[in-house]
């Protein structure tokens, strides 16, 4: 897919030499290589993570992802908390899109306990999950331009994201950490006039969709730098377990909402956007389509949310709610792709094990390490953001 006219890849015929194990032989004392660190504190890195790059000139010949700057041990902390006490902790596993954590934890608990939540709660859960996706996309769509020095769309996106956070504040009582979806249901219905205000925001976002297209996707500089760069070979998708928009940009129609429908997604009318070029530009473009799909989904959900009904199922006293022994895996589609919780209960009031299967672990460690090779240093940040990696979720 490389643009032949602008291909300025270096001559790799002399070094690095490839050893018998298929890996480059890098002799730092030869003077031909330099090791540099990108991160953990670097504007081109998404969060606290760092990349150990071995470069030759300005070309990356080897890369290693270093994590450990953000480890909070949440999965261990869960083992000492009652089920109801886990959800305020779970949200911190993926900070920018906290609702997927709450959702998976709640559904896992409900599955193990064998309880069904009221329909109204399910619709409200869908609304918050889509709003959460929307605010995340409002960051990542213009943010892709930011990694290449185009800061202009970022403020627009952040402003609109703040409007969505205002709606979250009205609905859930929190802006970032909503703590709204809890085992058994949700914590309240829609406030008065909520739909009208959200609709106004959606209209503003639709204008933004058009404007960011002009400024970013139609921008000659961005197109030149992003097209053909950071190619993700479709054969790696299954090899690495690539999910979400990264897989969709490589021609795979993967979306948990369609493949394993949960909540009431089957009742909504929408199409999964896919493309096949699989470079930075395409991945960014897929998210732009996702943004439009999400706006559409929110409108459909708002039209269908029941106005009355219970928001929470009857559960035992949460202070000593024992969950029957068993294990389950629950997943949802976050803006980054399949986001799942593996949960094991030993029959006590505290989970035996909760393990997060987040998309970033794959995307930011083995996949990124492979994709960085032969990249220009200036494109490292762009590549990383195009994979939408999230360090808090890698380490939790």
């Amino acid at each position: 897919m490389k643009n032949k006219l602008f291909n300025i890849s270096p001559d790799r015929s002399k070094y690095p030499t490839i050893g018998k194990d298929g890996k480059p032989e890098i002799d730092l004392s030869s003077g031909k290589f330099v090791k540099i660190w990108q991160g953990p504190n670097h504007p081109g890195v998404t969060g606290n993570m760092s990349l150990e790059l071995t470069v030759s000139g300005d070309e990356v010949v080897d890369a290693k992802t270093h994590v450990g700057y953000l480890h909070r041990g949440f999965e261990k902390l869960f083992e000492r908390r009652k089920y109801i006490q886990c959800f305020p902790t779970s949200i911190r596993m993926c900070v920018p899109e906290a609702d997927s954590n709450e959702y998976c934890l709640a559904v896992g608990t409900e599955k193990l306990a064998g309880i069904d939540v009221p329909d109204r709660a399910k619709w409200l859960r869908m609304l918050t999950l889509e709003m959460s996706r929307l605010q995340m996309l409002l960051r990542i769509v213009p943010g892709q331009g930011g990694t290449m020095g185009l800061g202009i769309g970022v403020q627009w996106g952040m402003y609109l994201r703040d409007l969505i956070l205002d709606r979250f504040e009205e609905l859930t009582g929190g802006r970032i950490y909503h703590m709204y979806i809890l085992p058994g249901g949700v914590r309240g219905g829609l406030p008065e006039g909520f739909e009208t205000r959200l609709e106004e925001n959606l209209k503003d976002i639709e204008k933004f969709v058009h404007r960011i297209d002009n400024v970013l996707y139609q921008n000659a500089v961005f197109r030149k730098r992003a097209m053909g760069v950071g190619y993700l070979d479709p054969s790696w998708v299954d090899e690495y377990g690539v999910v979400g928009s990264n897989a969709r940009a490589a021609g795979f129609k993967r979306d948990v909402r369609k493949d394993n429908p949960y909540l009431f997604y089957e009742q909504l009318d929408w199409e999964v956007p896919i493309k096949t070029e699989s470079d930075i530009y395409t991945r960014a473009r897929i998210r732009w389509y996702d943004l439009q799909v999400t706006i559409d989904l929110i409108r459909q959900i708002l039209a269908k949310i029941p106005k009355t009904g219970d928001v929470r199922a009857k559960t035992p006293n949460v202070m000593h709610w024992k969950i029957p022994a068993g294990q389950t895996y629950v997943k949802s589609e976050s803006s980054r792709g399949e986001f799942g919780f593996f949960m094991v209960s030993d029959g006590t009031d505290k989970p035996r094990r909760i393990n997060l299967r987040g998309p970033s672990y794959t995307h930011a460690v083995p996949l990124l390490e492979r994709m960085l090779i032969n990249t220009n240093i200036a494109d490292v940040g762009a590549l990383m953001v195009s994979l939408q990696t999230c360090p808090p979720e890698i380490e939790r």
Binding site: R81, K82, I84, Q85, C86, F87, P88, T89, I152, Y159, D166, E169, E170, L171, T172, G173, G174, Y177, M179, G185, R187, G188, G189, P191, R211, N214, V215, L216, Q218, N219, A220, R223, K224, D310, V311, R312, K314, T315, P316, N317, V318, M319, H320
Partner: protein, 601 residues
């Protein structure tokens, strides 16, 4: 790449003509949303310091601390939550589980301060700018509950099925029902301090949840050796202070206790309680009366190894529990289940023996190291209105005793009961049953000084009595029993306006203009019982000290001024079973200490 792609990005310049969207804080500050989870507020008047907020807090940000000006009282721990904002994550679970709805979050969200210690504060006590704010996080709509506030209903006999016989009304919980009810407990422990015996209520309720009945049974016996009895007829003061009662139904602690005791077979009692071998001591203790206090003292003294002998005036053990409480509330086999364990531990009991008549107090003093007297209140008090000397005027306590002893009871066509307490209800309902058996219909009227709202009997007793067709007509003061030609005709009454004066003293006021007449063939007086202390010889009486109200003065271990003589039960405190049990337990500890000290000398 085309010219379009070079020109289009310049469309961003259109923003030059738009107004900025930034909010300039603090110049134009925006308030938090109506549901915003901001800073804590607490209504310290309605807060009871149950600690649910502290228990649920996943960050251990809430601790309960004593507060100046708030006294510990029944149903209030006297503690209030202190929030540490160095730990809080504002999840508001504390608000959602608050048992009184006193704890809330305001929508205030900025707090700037230099002193890190200031961020630990007691909401409602430490004055904060957001204390009066209306908006903020409150527990969501009514159908959102993190606990179950509805009591698991108890299977009971219908009025039609019970009003002719003395079979037990309450059927008891099944395992599933008991576990569901036990699940509602938030383990605040407010009940422990209110229970006269300070039973480990949250612990035995936890044992029900864990389905560890043996453990629960052991917990019961730590403080109460009569669980089958208390599980049926306890006045359950614990339930009146239960934290769950503020927003819903209190836990049915009494039925849960009964559930545990019901699960254990009488034969297994000793094994479960690990009482198979008791190391005997040489010292001897005499107990007068085998009511709750006497039995309780006997159990704990026997457990310590003392040679215990109970002297009982009546032919069977149990005191008022057997001879006062009707069988439909407390069946005799359940009563015997508790008593048999105490007797099987090697406690001696001598029936039909009245102290002062069959054996003198001086003899007891000589033969025993200590004496515990718990003789109870058996002598019915009379209204002393004209006509009470008629042969068809009876005392409730006497009739109840006769019912238990299977003696013949005078059941007449029209029965009138004077009194509104639990004993009055007992005799009313017993007479209703006997009338039903004899005539196939009920014609019993109970009247009391107190009005409907302040009737001293338990509400459920009044409701059930009415279900059984008895008439409760409160708010009347009896003036005269009308007798014509030696035949009892009925009771003249006048309206009672108020029973107590401002200080709560007994000073009934009547309206002589407003009178009524209740026709009756027999009148039963049930306005309270008094103690009969004639068995105490004058020499000992002189040694004793008395309180202002004329009761025998005892110390915290129920030891009287005559050091060898301990008093307990209804004659000292109550009257009810659980006080008796608590007295007996404390007296047993006191007697043990007294004997050990005497030994040293």
């Amino acid at each position: 790449m085309s010219l379009k792609h070079i020109i289009k990005p310049f469309s961003a310049w259109s923003n030059v003509f738009r107004d900025p969207v930034t909010v300039k804080d603090p110049l134009n500050d925006r308030p938090g949303a109506a549901r915003y989870r901001g800073f804590h507020q607490n209504d310290i008047e309605s807060c009871i310091g149950c600690g649910a907020c502290s228990t649920i807090c996943e960050n251990e940000a809430i601790s309960l601390v004593p507060v100046d000006g708030i006294e510990t009282k029944e149903g209030d721990s006297g503690l209030r939550p202190l929030v540490d904002y160095g730990r809080c994550c504002w999840c508001a679970l504390c608000v959602d589980v608050c048992s009184t709805e006193s704890l809330k979050l305001s929508n205030h969200y900025t707090w700037v301060g230099e002193d890190p210690e200031a961020f630990k504060f007691i909401p409602g006590v430490d004055k904060m700018p957001w204390d009066e704010e209306e908006l903020g996080w409150k527990r969501p709509e009514d159908n959102y509950e993190l606990n179950n506030f509805k009591r698991i209903s108890m299977l009971e006999l219908t009025p039609e099925a019970r009003d002719k016989s003395f079979i037990e009304i309450v059927k008891g919980y099944s395992k599933q029902e008991a576990q569901e009810e036990a699940d509602r407990c938030i383990e605040c422990g407010l009940c422990i301090s209110t229970c006269p015996a300070h039973m480990g209520i949250p612990e035995y309720i936890a044992a029900i949840r864990e389905d560890d009945i043996n453990e629960g049974f052991k917990k019961l016996y730590e403080t109460n050796p009569l669980p089958e009895i208390c599980g049926r007829i306890c006045t359950h003061k614990c339930e009146t202070v239960c934290a769950m009662g503020h927003r819903g139904d209190p836990l049915s602690i009494r039925w849960l206790k009964r559930y545990i005791a019901d699960q254990i077979e009488s034969d297994d009692y000793k094994k479960v309680l690990e009482l198979d071998s008791i190391e005997n001591k040489d010292q001897k203790v005499a107990i007068i009366g085998s009511g709750p206090a006497g039995l309780s003292a006997a159990y704990y003294l026997r457990k310590l190894g003392y040679q215990v002998k109970i002297f009982e005036a009546l032919p069977e053990a149990g005191g008022m529990m057997r001879y006062g409480i009707p069988e439909y509330r407390l069946p005799y086999d359940q009563l015997d289940k508790d008593i048999n364990l105490i007797l099987n531990l090697g406690t001696e009991i001598q029936y039909n023996t009245r102290i002062g008549k069959d054996i003198s107090m001086e003899e007891l003093q000589k033969s025993y190291d200590a004496v515990f007297a718990a003789t109870g209140l058996h002598d019915g008090r009379s209204t002393r209105i004209p006509g009470t000397d008629h042969e068809h005027v009876y005392m409730a306590a006497d009739l109840l005793r006769d019912i238990t002893s299977s003696k013949e009871i005078p059941v007449m066509e029209k029965v009138l009961v004077i009194g509104g307490g639990n004993v009055a209800m007992d005799i009313t309902r017993s007479m209703a049953r006997l009338q039903n058996q004899k005539f196939g219909r009920v014609q019993v009227i109970a009247t009391a000084l107190e009005g409907e709202e302040i009737l001293p009997a338990d509400r459920e007793e009044i409701v059930e009595a009415r279900e059984e067709q008895a008439v409760i007509n409160p708010g009347w003061g009896p003036t005269e029993i009308v007798i014509e030609d030696g035949k009892l005709k009925g009771l003249l009454v006048q309206r009672c306006l108020s029973v107590f004066d401002e200080n709560g003293g007994f000073a009934p006021k009547f309206d002589p203009e407003d009178t009524d007449f209740f026709p009756a063939d027999m009148v039963i007086e049930s306005i309270g019982q008094g103690a009969n202390l004639s068995y105490i010889p004058q020499s000992v009486k002189d040694e004793l000290e008395y309180t202002d109200r004329g009761r025998i003065k005892v110390d915290s271990h129920f030891q009287s001024s005559a050091k060898w003589l301990f008093f307990g039960g209804d004659i000292i405190e109550g009257p009810d079973v659980i006080h008796g049990i608590a007295n007996g337990h404390k007296a047993a500890i006191g007697i043990d200490q007294f004997i050990q000290e005497t030994q040293k000398k």
